[in-house]
Symmetry: C2
Subunit: 567 residues, 2 copies
């Protein structure tokens, strides 16, 4: 069929199954797949489409190099062939071609029908940038799969199967990588009546709008319905937002899955357009982030086997926001907040911390650090004889708090949550092995100004009983590691700081160009210097939930020992 | 010229310049390049060959995504064009093609002669496995460069230029990645008289022998002299060992650069074969590792700006070995060892630590942790009321030591060295934020059994004054975090443990297959479980010097939250 030929869309119901797999949990993932396929079939779906690598969980990373892992997957596929009898499905798998384990792998999709694997297609465009390492594991498929669904009525439907990046057909980018063809165009040229896309596309702020318009443009350009199914759930630092979408041949959204929840959504290809969440505009960025953080925290804990959490409460805004997220992710009864006051903490800090715990209904402890602080200084008194106090003693307090919180984590099996924000982590305004202690850094990808917006949003959600004390939001931010310390003694004002950080980190803008945007040269140089010099801290930071296009962690790989200086 | 046609090797002297670049230090790297080229020219070299990316330092990682970084390189190339006038050279650079910064990059080599860039060649085979991420940054060159050197005498020499992996022509591996051609064969087919290979090939145990035989086989197969120049020096976790080699057309080594030192070696292509270090057999694996660790430690410190180091001395073998390495890397006067005894430490531990410090001539402090330990427990007495002591209190001691050592690092600007070995890190027999604290993990890629071999080697090097007390080597290993604790209470015997770990980590061998090798199933399962469950600790570990084919760190990317279980 020639490209662009106008087709009349046939009637067919398709299930979009956005499940929340756990990496390597083949039993659990199989059970989810079978349950979703049955649920869709009950609603009349003739085919259920799942997300990329739904059987393994995405990303499986170097587990893909283990032969035993791949063999376990292959056994799971065998089981699915049987269990999906009567419910045709397209699932995301890894396909092995030829000998030599760990080589010859493809990121693939399998169409399963009537107890058979009808066909297997491979991803053509392998993302190898930011958090993605697909060239590390996979070979690139030379052509995406066009296959035929035998329908109950005896008719057929020709399907064009693509996987995630295959849709992101930025030709300029991919042409440079020697992919002269566009997988979607190729599918249409080869006769696909309906385009499917299995994705594991992690959330980042404001990505959904561009994704929707890109997918809509593809459907419209080729005049084909397009079904996009995205993974949901948190896996380490990545949070997948679901929000599967079906488009008609005019590029209009005709169905969509919920955001940050697993779901089975059945769509009739001839259904009328619906208003998507995006079009209704009711997912403000603060709400998107809130849901991403709650899901990411909940899933990290659940998939690692934690049922409860502990965190330090400073009385400030960062720990307050993390406490609210934790209370929702774990249930308030499973969260313990700990105030760890020193001589430098104001009475208001302690009362704000207590107040927060009460409002949230979480457990609360107060553990003073004066005793340990004095004893640590005593222990070092000979070694430090004749030296003035300096930042050493500030870090010491933060590290004593780390020891105390980790002791509570060890004793009770709580997951310790780190409460530092992205602005702090970027500038090193945080103590390694101190406030950086923890299994998960909940807001490490949230700039300080966005922490404020989140706090206000959390309070606005519940105006009768706002969870965060107003004074935690309004007071000047302080680490309280010496008398009268304020963040703004060491850092530029946060609105300016965040703007500079964003340019430098997310857009790789040079110092000169940031200065040209109107910022003070000395401040820009200071900020860039802080980013560079603190790489060593971030290298040892807890995994943090990614919500921005460029988070610290697996997607940003800077050397520590280098001398490239713009300052 | 047809492949395999026998050529008579012309007379020509070539300089092999294995320099030690610092990533992003364009001024310093340029200065090294110019000095090396001049030194080679004085010795009669008509051409000096450098290592891969010598101008930028390898690996530059995400600095390559910064336009300002690439522009700084381009300015450095301009400078080199002038400064290398009269000393023809082939240097490793990054080449940008077309628009769109961060895209269209090649891992390239430039031939510079008479103030001009004569030619630029691109790497064809981009490693994207283990510690390598080259597909993240680079496009693959479609054909390696054949170019002509205009010689002073008016004659010409046709050179075939390859970069690192281009030589590693394991066709089975690369054919799967759709590279149907072998770059070396291609160079010969297109007329190269001499083959050059610019490398940045990091050290790992016993890699050198296979590298030498592979390169020798290439020279012999194509009957062409082959000049291989490798980077030297430490960059974060990677240590490059130099050991450049020149082969004649019969595959015999005719010159080689030193191991783990920068050097300019000039070779006459008609020179007779020499006995290489390898052939003379005088670099035992323990000595290779010792040199790698000294260089890696020294360079990490130097390139980060540290002049001194501090480390905890337990009286055990791990910290003793690290102290010896540190004393050589920094000079004994710049190293401080600290004993941090508790009620659980034997008097022998303290006396062994003191003894070691005296033998090495490093500074020594003793800081007891009883006071802080008591106070930390007091602070938590209410929260822990009614609970028994457990591993929490063991970790607490390790973390208090971390606080004390980091305080000394902060106060005096010493780099804190972590002393944990690979067996501990693999099994989680270490405390996060405790003994894992530090800027560099010197022996984190050295299994315990190899730590013993290293200790004996270090003592054997100086039989009159062995640096490590014999009792540190012979006593049963213990963490001394409770009374009469021995490592072997929690872990299998180290010889068995290390063998299982190596199978699982370095070869991805499945549980069943390890058991088939003759190990007890329960022990294998326990070890595999420990490896998995402690991924979260390693994720926050200090960068460690890689000396094995598979180190924890940038080359091993396992998810934390997963449920793939073989046990």
């Amino acid at each position: 069929m020639a490209r662009g030929a106008v087709l009349e869309t046939k009637f067919m119901k398709i299930g979009m199954a956005q499940i929340n797999p756990t990496v390597g949990d083949f039993d659990g993932n199989c059970a989810q797949i079978v349950a979703a396929a049955k649920k869709a079939a009950v609603q009349g779906a003739e085919l259920t489409v799942f997300s990329e690598m739904c059987l393994l969980g995405y990303p499986a990373r170097d587990l893909l190099e283990k032969p035993a892992f791949l063999e376990a997957q292959d056994r799971a596929i065998e089981r699915l062939r049987d269990e999906l009898r009567g419910t045709p499905a397209v699932i995301g798998i890894v396909h092995r071609r030829g000998q030599g384990v760990g080589r010859g792998l493809f990121n693939s999709c399998a169409m399963i029908q009537d107890g058979k694997i009808i066909d297997v297609g491979h991803k053509s465009l392998l993302p190898t940038y930011d958090v993605f390492d697909e060239d590390r594991y996979f070979q690139s498929g030379s052509a995406p799969l066009v296959t035929t669904l035998q329908r109950r009525a005896g008719s057929r439907m020709t399907l064009g199967l693509s996987i995630c990046e295959d849709c992101w057909n930025d030709k300029d980018f991919w042409a440079q990588r020697r992919y002269a063809f566009d997988p979607m165009e190729d599918l249409v040229r080869r006769g696909a009546e309906v385009l499917l896309n299995l994705s594991a596309s992690p959330y980042s702020m404001e990505k959904h709008a561009s994704k929707q318009s890109m997918l809509s443009a593809i459907a419209k350009k080729y005049e084909r319905p397009l079904i996009y199914v995205n993974q949901v759930g948190g896996n380490d630092d990545l949070v997948f937002d679901g929000r599967s979408m079906a488009f008609n041949a005019r590029g209009e959204v005709i169905a969509c899955g919920p955001a940050f929840e697993d779901a089975v959504t059945v769509v009739d290809l001839r259904a009328p357009p619906v208003a998507t969440e995006l079009e209704k505009g009711h997912l403000a960025v603060e709400e998107e982030i809130r849901r991403a953080l709650v899901l990411g925290t909940r899933d990290y804990a659940r998939k690692c086997g934690f049922k409860s959490a502990v965190l330090g409460l400073s009385g400030g805004i960062d720990s307050a926001v993390v406490a609210v997220i934790a209370a929702e992710a774990f249930g308030p009864q499973n969260v313990t907040g700990v105030a760890l006051p020193s001589r430098f903490n104001s009475p208001e800090s302690l009362s704000d911390a207590k107040d927060l715990a009460q409002r949230l209904g979480i457990q609360f402890h107060e553990v003073a650090i004066e005793g340990p602080f004095t004893e640590i200084k005593n222990a070092l008194s000979q070694v430090f004889a004749g030296r003035n106090e300096d930042v050493t003693e500030e870090n010491m307090q933060a590290r004593i708090r780390g020891v105390l919180l980790m002791a509570m984590s060890n004793k009770f099996g709580h997951l310790l949550l780190t409460t530092g924000n992205k602005s702090e982590l970027a500038t090193g305004y945080c103590t390694l092995y101190g406030d950086m202690c923890g299994g998960l850094a909940v807001i490490s990808d949230v700039y300080k100004m966005m922490v404020y917006r989140l706090a206000n949003h959390l309070n606005a959600m519940n105006p009768a009983n706002p969870p965060i004390p107003q004074s935690s939001i309004t007071k000047a931010p302080t680490a309280e590691l010496r008398f009268n310390q304020k963040d703004q003694d060491s850092l530029p004002p946060y609105d300016m700081l965040d703007a500079i950080l964003k340019e430098a980190i997310e857009h790789h803008v040079s110092a000169d160009e940031i200065v040209k945007q109107g910022y003070d040269r000395a401040i820009v140089m200071k900020v860039l210097r802080m980013i560079d010099l603190n790489e060593y801290k971030r290298r040892q930071g807890a995994p943090g939930l990614k919500i921005s296009p460029k988070a610290f962690g697996t997607g940003r790989r800077m050397p520590i020992a280098h001398r490239f200086r713009e300052y």
